[in-house]
Symmetry: C2
Subunit: 324 residues, 2 copies
C-alpha cells in the first residue's frame, strides 16, 4: 500500500498555453516536449485506514494551497479505486520549486503514478497521462518516455501524451539556467486564464498545428538548426502573447534578456546553441553533446553558474526507495 | 541664404511601425506623439554657388551613410526650388544620437525647415511636415507644436502631422532614461521592412484606429491613468511585433526589463508613472509634474542617473544662431 514514483520534469519545445476546458485542463493546442533527466520529483504515497486525515509534505513543508490541490487529486484516485482511506504523501524535488522549472509537471506525474499504484489501480500509460493531466496539464507529458507529444484531443479521454521518439533517438542537451528564484509572481494557471485577452492569441492558435508538424519532422530527422530556430520563435511568440495579455504577464527578468542576447551572440560566433523559455524567467539552452563544454564556458564568462544539464530520459517510473 | 532651424525630438505614444510605401514613407497607421523640449537638433544650411560639392557635418563628423541621406534630401529641395547650388549642412544634437532617442526625427525636421528656407521656399506647416516625412517618417511629427497626430493619409499629399493640442494643454513630463548606447543594432528603416513577417502585425493594424481614437480622448480629458495604461499596452505590443518578426527584432537590453518592472513596482507603491519605449533600449517614463521628484529619487535608487527630463514643447522653428 506504500508506493514511490520518480517523475522527470519536461521542457516544452512547442508550448502549452491556454485551456479549452478549465476544469478538465483540455489545452487549446497540442504541445511537444522532452523529458529532463536531472530535474525530477520523487513521491511516496501510502493509503492507510490508520490515518485520520490526508497529510501532504512537499520538500519538507506543508503549504496549504499545494496540499489542497494534492488532496483534490487524491479524492479522484479514491473515487476511481473505491477506497475511502486517507493517505500520507511525501514529495521531494531535486531542484528549487520556485525556480520555474516545471515542478508541477514532475510533481503531478509522480503523484499520479504513486497514488494510483498505492490505491491498487492498474492503469495504462494513456490512462496515467490523462489522470496526470487532470492534476496539472503539462504533467501528462512527463508520463511517457523521451520526446513526447500531448495531443490536444477532443475530450478528456482523447487528450493525453504519447512518446514520439524514445530518449535515445537524439542526444539533445538541455542546460537549464536558473535565473533568480522568485521572479515568477503569477501562477501558471492564473496566467493561462488571460490568454484570450491578448489580441494575438487567436493568430497564434491558427499556426499551432503547422508548428507541431514541422517540429516533429525536425526531431525525426535530427535537423538541429531548423529545430533550434523553431523553438526560439515559439518561445518568443509565447512570451509576446503573455506580454500583450491584459494585464500583461511579464515573466522575464533582466537576466532573461541578457541570456537571450548572449545566445544570439554565441551563435554568430559559430556555437550552435538555441534557447527556449517556459512561463518563468529561467532559460533552457539547447545544444548537442559537442557543444556542452563551450556553452558552459560561455555561461561562466557571463557569470552564470547556476544551471542543471539534462539529457532526454524515460518517463515516470516506480521505485523501491520510499521516502518514509 | 544661410538658415538655421531648431527641431525637437518627439516621443510617440501610438507608434509608427510599418510602411505602405517604402519610398514615400507612407505609414500603415496613424500615430500620436508629443514634442520633447530637451532633446533637439540644431541645423544650419547654406546654399552657395561657391561650394563645389555638398558638405554634411553631423555632430562634428562626416559619416558617409548619413551624409548620403542628407544629400538625397537636398536634391529634393533643389528640385523643388529650381536651384542648382551645392550646400553646406552642419547639425548638432544635444544628445548622443546612438542612444535611440529619435535623432532622425529631430534631425530631418530641422533639416527640412532650414534647407527649404535657405533655398528660398516658403512652405506651409503642412508642406513642411510632408517634406520632413520624405526624409524620415517620424520627422513629420516634429514640425507642428505640442501634441501631434500624424494621419496616415491616402497619398503623399494627405499623410502629414498636425497639432492635436498645444504644448500647454497638458503638462506631461517625459523622463527619457538612456540605456547603454549602442544596444540598437538594427536601423529603424531596415527593421520596419520586416513588419509583415510577424504573424501578429495584421492583428495589430486592425486595432490601430481604435487606439488612436482612445488616446486622443484621454489626452483631451487629461485622463492620466487611462492614458498611461494605453501607452504601455501600445509599447509592449510594438515590441512583441518586433520580437516575432523573422528574424526577430530585439531592441531591449536587460536594463529595459529592469525599468519596466521597476515602473510597475513603483505604481503598486502608489507612484503614478508609466513607460513607453521606441525602437531602442531606452525607456521614456511619463509622469505628471507632482511625480517628478519621486521618479528621479526612485531612478537614483536603482542606479539610473542618465536621463533627460522633457516637457511638451513647440514645433520646429527658425533661429538666428547659426552654427557656422
Amino acid at each position: 500500500m506504500k508506493t514511490t514514483a520518480i517523475a522527470p520534469s519536461n521542457i516544452a519545445f512547442i508550448k502549452y498555453w491556454g485551456k479549452r476546458d478549465e476544469k478538465l485542463r483540455l489545452p487549446t493546442n497540442s504541445s511537444i516536449s522532452m523529458n529532463l533527466s536531472h530535474l525530477f520529483t520523487t513521491t511516496t504515497v501510502e493509503f492507510s485506514q490508520q490515518y485520520r486525515q490526508d497529510t501532504v509534505v512537499i520538500d519538507g513543508t506543508n503549504e496549504r494551497r499545494e496540499a489542497e490541490r494534492v488532496v483534490g487529486f487524491l479524492d479522484q484516485v479514491r473515487h476511481r479505486s473505491g477506497s475511502a482511506s486517507f493517505a500520507r504523501v511525501e514529495s521531494v524535488n531535486n531542484f528549487d520549486k520556485s525556480a520555474g522549472l516545471a515542478s508541477s509537471a514532475s510533481g503531478f506525474a509522480a503523484l499520479t503514478v504513486a497514488a494510483t499504484s498505492a490505491a491498487g489501480l492498474m492503469l495504462s500509460e494513456k490512462e496515467l497521462s490523462i489522470m496526470a493531466r487532470l492534476g496539472s496539464g503539462s504533467a501528462c507529458r512527463s508520463i511517457p518516455a523521451g520526446f513526447v507529444e500531448w495531443k490536444k484531443g477532443r475530450s478528456s479521454a482523447t487528450s493525453y501524451a504519447e512518446t514520439l521518439f524514445p530518449a535515445d533517438h537524439w542526444r539533445l542537451l538541455d542546460i537549464a539556467v536558473m535565473v533568480g528564484a522568485g521572479a515568477k509572481k503569477i501562477p501558471t494557471s492564473a496566467g493561462q486564464r488571460l490568454v484570450w485577452t491578448s489580441p494575438f492569441f487567436r493568430t497564434r492558435l491558427a499556426g499551432m498545428d503547422n508548428k507541431n508538424t514541422r517540429l516533429k519532422s525536425y526531431i525525426k530527422t535530427r535537423d538541429f538548426p531548423r529545430f533550434g530556430e523553431l523553438i526560439e520563435t515559439e518561445a518568443l511568440e509565447l512570451h509576446t502573447v503573455m506580454m500583450t495579455s491584459a494585464p500583461p504577464l511579464f515573466y522575464w527578468s533582466p537576466k532573461t534578456v541578457e541570456i537571450i542576447q548572449a545566445v544570439w551572440r554565441w551563435r554568430q560566433e559559430g556555437l550552435p546553441v538555441y534557447f527556449t523559455i517556459d512561463a518563468g524567467a529561467s532559460v533552457h539552452l539547447i545544444c548537442q553533446p559537442t557543444g556542452q563544454i563551450a556553452v558552459k564556458t560561455k555561461l561562466k564568462q557571463i557569470g552564470l553558474i547556476n544551471y542543471v544539464v539534462n539529457y532526454p530520459t524515460g518517463g515516470t517510473r516506480l521505485t523501491d526507495h520510499h521516502l518514509f
